[in-house]
């Protein structure tokens, strides 16, 4: 790769360059480098920012680099393995924070507005990344950048303003402490531009709550792995972007034709739920509540139950019929699957923060025993306004409630609040304590491993996490394949680069459309955990890893295998195959796994909380069901073998890394004697 100092320019005289460089204290202008446009989809520029000395530089990778890593997850893995040494403090200045859209981001089709964010996670101590929707990712590409790599720590609270070639460091001390909504208003007003797109943390990230997240456009979250805390540790409040260029694509008419086709065929294409795309708009992800409840797999009261007697009260239908104001969407997407709610009493909930999706309905609803949809919506708003992951926060609170119910916490620990499943106002009170980092909130905000240590009294058995990342709201006793996916995930428990066992049980439009092209040809029962299910987990997860390299939305029909190959070729001009794209996904998985191996992670970190092996449900359709530990461990070993990882340690073999064109990663692991 070529590193281009900011003083290099084409078309500017030396006096002009010196004048620009010396006239500014807080503003530095990146001179546009007239890079020969290589392929469609890429700008050819990765912006490097050092917050400490406000240094800027550009990297201009060649075509092979982009085709090999694509963007998103693989690009993040590349930088973290290449540039971080093991043992770096995730909240120290040496950590990198990488904002990475992908190859397809910003091209005009549904699902292309997203970006990934990655760093060493302060929640797990390992590889961390999260994906986020909205518009910011597309705007960054329109400004002319494929990614931003942030290093160092600013001396004072700072935000970065990017307008095409101009990159400025701006004082953020007047924004620090403000909600994301307040900060957005200030940034737009002081820059006289209400069309700026902003990615930012809130006060929770400033205070380095370990599961603080990064918020785009106020209602879209890069939720997992505590990346908001990393951003807060760097004194970086926001990156505001305005781009004026269209993202170049190789075959613009083909891209337009495919986009038009989707918009005109919402009633004939299928969403991942198996409903038509237009039908999926009705409820979005909130459609999952009653179905999972009927199946006995709706996480309830800290995963002690699988059915919630008041599921109707927190359902998507109830939301639709009472507090739903409108449905929102992302860049270039005609689907409108997002929820936007408005509540006036007893809580005021501002619709600019969107509304609860499935995970939030379950995490602050059934899993805390709360049947109050307005309270759940208020919790959602508090999280969006302050930058907190709703999954991790809700599960932290359900942990605290269970501890309280078992006498492991008392009202002395909670500042007088009596915690109980079903008490919505207590739930919101604890949530505010987490935001403020006060009392019990300070303890819970340190993440589940540390919180359980601080509480002691064997409370760790009620802290439901993998590698420190709290469990998403999908029950492993209903979806055991997902349970394996939680255990082996490099980011800790994650439901996105994973398999929903319930999608594999019968042929249907999505099974045929999405799974068969990956070689997943026969339905498999949800409770099966044999080699065939693990093969599905491997294939489907590697495909999801690729989707996170392209950073496109899982919920649109055009991100299914066949369509995505076609769209990739139309945008880039390459002649990719599904095989090649799957290999990119596999590469991303192995880069992240290698990063973790170098940090000391092994197969002993790939597990699930004991609850799922020892505590059967006492009632409901899954009464008596627990996971079989021997079957689970066998399935895990099969997963390692299928991935080409050492069966004892779970570390990628040198041969697997060579096969994926990651020989440099094999060398790196060899240097630290981590290769099996």
């Amino acid at each position: 790769m070529i590193s281009t100092p900011i003083a290099l320019a084409i078309g500017k005289s030396l006096p002009e360059i010196f004048s620009i460089l010396t006239s500014l204290i807080c503003e530095i202008e990146v001179i546009h480098v007239n890079v020969l446009h290589m392929v469609g989809g890429y700008t050819g520029k990765i912006l490097r920012i050092n917050l400490y000395d406000e240094n800027l530089s550009l990297e201009s990778p060649n075509e092979s680099f982009y085709r090999k890593y694509f963007g998103g997850r693989a690009l993040i893995g590349y930088y973290l393995v290449k540039e971080l040494r093991p043992g770096v403090d995730p909240l120290g200045p040496e950590n990198l924070l990488i904002f990475a859209p992908g190859v397809l981001t910003g091209a005009p089709f549904a699902g292309s507005g997203r970006n990934s964010v990655g760093a060493k996670s302060p929640l797990t101590g390992g590889y961390g990344d999260a994906e986020v929707g909205g518009f910011w990712g597309a705007e960054l590409k329109r400004a002319g950048y494929d990614a931003i790599v942030v290093a160092g720590k600013a001396k004072d609270p700072t935000y970065v303003l990017i307008k095409d070639d101009q990159v400025r460091f701006k004082d953020a001390s007047h924004i620090w402490g403000k909600t994301t909504g307040e900060a957005e208003d200030i940034i737009k007003k002081e820059n006289s531009d209400r069309n700026i797109r902003i990615t930012q943390i809130g006060p929770a990230g400033e205070r380095q709550v370990r599961y603080a997240c990064i918020i785009n456009d106020l209602s879209h979250a890069a939720g997992r792995c505590g990346l908001g805390a990393v951003m807060g540790s760097k004194n970086l409040r926001a990156i505001a972007v305005r781009g004026s260029r269209d993202v170049p694509v190789a075959e613009p008419e083909k891209v337009r034709e495919m986009s038009r086709w989707l918009a005109q065929n919402l009633d004939k294409t299928y969403h991942v739920s198996g409903r038509t795309t237009i039908a999926s708009r009705d409820l979005g992800t909130t459609a999952a509540v009653p179905g999972l409840n009927a199946a006995g797999g709706l996480p309830t009261r800290n995963f002690t139950q699988g059915t919630f007697e008041d599921a109707e009260s927190i359902s998507g239908q109830r939301m639709r019929d009472t507090i739903l104001l409108e449905r929102g969407t992302c860049f270039a997407c005609p689907i409108f699957c997002k929820r936007v709610v408005k509540v006036d009493e007893p809580y005021k909930v501002d619709p600019r923060y969107g509304g609860p999706e499935y995970e939030t309905l379950a995490s602050f609803g059934s899993n805390c025993g709360v049947d109050d949809l307005k309270a759940i919506s208020k919790a959602n708003e508090i999280c969006a306004a302050n930058g907190l992951d709703t999954i991790s926060t809700g599960v932290a609170i359900s942990f605290a409630i269970e501890c309280y119910s078992r006498g492991l916490l008392t009202s002395k620990d909670t500042g007088g609040i009596e915690l109980a499943f079903g008490d919505a106002s207590a739930m919101i009170a604890v949530l505010n304590m987490i935001v403020e980092r006060k009392g019990l909130g300070r303890v819970l905000g340190d993440g589940p491993i540390s919180a359980a240590k601080q509480i002691g009294r064997n409370s760790e058995r009620y802290a439901l996490h993998v590698k420190g990342q709290p469990l998403p709201l999908h029950e492993p006793r209903l979806k055991p394949g997902m349970g394996i996916g939680y255990a082996v995930s490099v980011t800790g428990a994650d439901h996105c680069h994973n398999l929903h066992d319930t999608q594999c049980i019968q042929e249907g439009p999505v099974f045929i459309r999405d799974f068969k092209p990956l070689g997943m040809l026969q339905p498999i029962p949800a409770d099966d955990l044999g080699p065939a299910k693990i093969r599905y987990l491997v294939y489907h997860t590697n495909w999801r890893h690729f989707q996170n390299c392209a950073v496109i939305c899982y919920f649109t029909p055009q991100t299914a295998p066949k369509e995505l190959v076609e769209m990739t070729n139309a945008i880039t001009g390459w002649n990719v195959s599904l095989w090649e794209l799957m290999k990119v996904g596999e590469k991303a998985a192995n880069l992240a796994r290698a990063f973790n191996a170098r940090e000391g992670f092994t197969s002993k970190h790939d597990g699930l909380p004991d609850r799922f092996f020892t505590e059967p449900f006492r009632e409901g359709p899954l009464k008596g069901v627990i996971l079989d530990r021997m079957k689970f461990e066998r399935a895990k070993t099969i997963y390692y073998g299928m991935m080409g990882w050492d069966k004892k340690t779970g570390i990628p073999s040198a041969e697997k890394l060579h096969e994926l064109d990651l020989s440099w990663v094999a060398d790196e692991l060899g240097k630290y004697e981590k290769l099996p």
């Binding site: 179905g291 199946a295 319930t502 359709p621």
Partner: protein, 77 residues
């Protein structure tokens, strides 16, 4: 016999109905599978069915006044 049927997850939209709750006098048989067919649903559209809040098989025989809830596959997220 008259039963109430609730179609979850947007199924009613795909069937061209205005409401997810309908009342039905089954004409093709009293089993759950008969009702699913009578509504115009394909087997692949249906993940599970509950009657009066209890999960049942396709072979289950419904009674007058039952509430039948039909769920498509869901993922979540």
């Amino acid at each position: 016999m008259r039963v109430r049927v609730r179609l979850h997850g947007g199924l009613h939209i795909d069937l061209g109905m205005n409401s997810e709750m309908i009342e039905l006098t089954p004409t093709q048989g009293p089993k759950v599978a008969d009702i699913v067919r009578e509504l115009g649903l394909r087997a692949e559209d249906v993940w599970l069915v509950s009657v009066n809040r209890n999960r049942v098989s396709n072979d289950f025989t419904v009674q007058n006044g039952d509430l039948i809830e039909i769920f498509p596959i869901v993922a979540g997220g």
